[in-house]
């Protein structure tokens, strides 16, 4: 079977390994996906006769806590990659494990938030604000779940590659990190837009 080229070394014409360029192209498409929804938010808000203040419907302390959790998970993610670069696999396991744990904390808190809204009969169909809130945060949560699946694979069975192809494994963790930081970046804008404005 033919080997996949440039998984560990940089391709001469691009200067980066293939997975990195591919991941950035994927992230470009993700920017357009969330961009379309942010654009919808602006249109809905500008076109609405009245728009509620996010803090009157959503819990700012809970949103702030979740923002800090996601920022912390971004740090642990980049630290897991840095640990591999420093040849410290034990630390990689700890930091990647923490990243997954923090992502799960984010999801659990989000579930409580959703349950609280539903228990107060606040559903996506209740108002335009809630419709865009559930759409944006729901799509973001799906991205978190996707990240947890990928990171869990690299923490669990996928880690075997470290023994045979350490460079390639380190690159895999780096591109998984690019995706994870993007998910964090989206939340950095979602939090003030939905909770504070």
């Amino acid at each position: 079977m033919e080997e996949i080229p440039y998984t560990a070394t940089a391709r001469p014409d691009t200067g980066v390994y293939n997975a990195k360029l591919g991941t950035w192209l994927f992230l470009a498409s993700e920017v357009m996906l969330f961009g379309a929804l942010f654009s919808s938010y602006i249109l809905l808000r500008v076109g609405a006769a009245e728009w509620p203040h996010g803090a009157d419907i959503l819990s700012v302390p809970i949103g702030t806590f979740n923002t800090l959790v996601l920022i912390a998970s971004s740090v642990t993610m980049v630290m897991s990659w840095a640990s591999l670069k420093m040849n410290d696999f034990r630390k990689y396991k700890i930091f990647m494990g923490l990243t997954i744990l923090l992502a799960l904390v984010f999801l659990v808190v989000k579930t409580f938030e959703y349950n609280d809204k539903f228990s107060h009969h606040l559903f996506p169909g209740t108002s335009t604000f809630l419709a865009i809130y559930f759409t944006l945060t729901g799509l973001h949560a799906l991205h978190i779940i996707g990240g947890v699946i990928v990171n869990s694979y690299f923490w669990g069975p996928g880690r075997r590659m470290w023994k045979t192809e350490p460079e390639r494994f380190t690159n895999r963790v780096e591109v998984a990190g690019l995706y994870w930081h993007f998910v964090d970046l989206v939340w950095i804008f979602l939090f003030p837009v939905l909770y504070l404005l």
């Binding site: 360029l21 950035w24 249109l43 971004s74 840095a82 990190g177």
Partner: protein, 104 residues
């Protein structure tokens, strides 16, 4: 990103911790700023400005854009161009419609 030694990465780790502290502080500043008695427009400007600074920190340091290759910036220039179009074209259309309200 350039190929770096373990010693270089150790230096980066200190930067990552500093960025984390900055991001956490900016999050709390965003929440504090939202309680200021200013107009909605000023609130939006402050919140988006802080979010842009936080986003830049994440992209520059955690996503290594500060030391990335030209080809990645090539992808990003196209992305920024189309993203801006996606955000501003509908808004300009909306302002056009609102200015036409008084047209008989």
């Amino acid at each position: 990103m350039k190929s770096e030694t373990a010693e270089d990465i150790k230096k980066h780790v200190r930067v990552y911790v500093a960025v984390f502290v900055a991001l956490a502080a900016l999050t709390l500043i965003t929440v504090g700023a939202s309680t200021l008695q200013v107009s909605t427009g000023v609130h939006i400007a402050i919140a988006l400005l802080i979010a842009a600074v936080k986003g830049s920190l994440v992209a520059s340091y955690f996503m290594h854009l500060i030391s990335e290759k030209k080809v990645i910036f090539g992808v990003l220039i196209f992305t920024v161009f189309f993203f801006a179009g996606l955000l501003f074209l509908p808004v300009s259309d909306l302002s056009l419609h609102s200015s036409m309200k008084n047209v008989p």
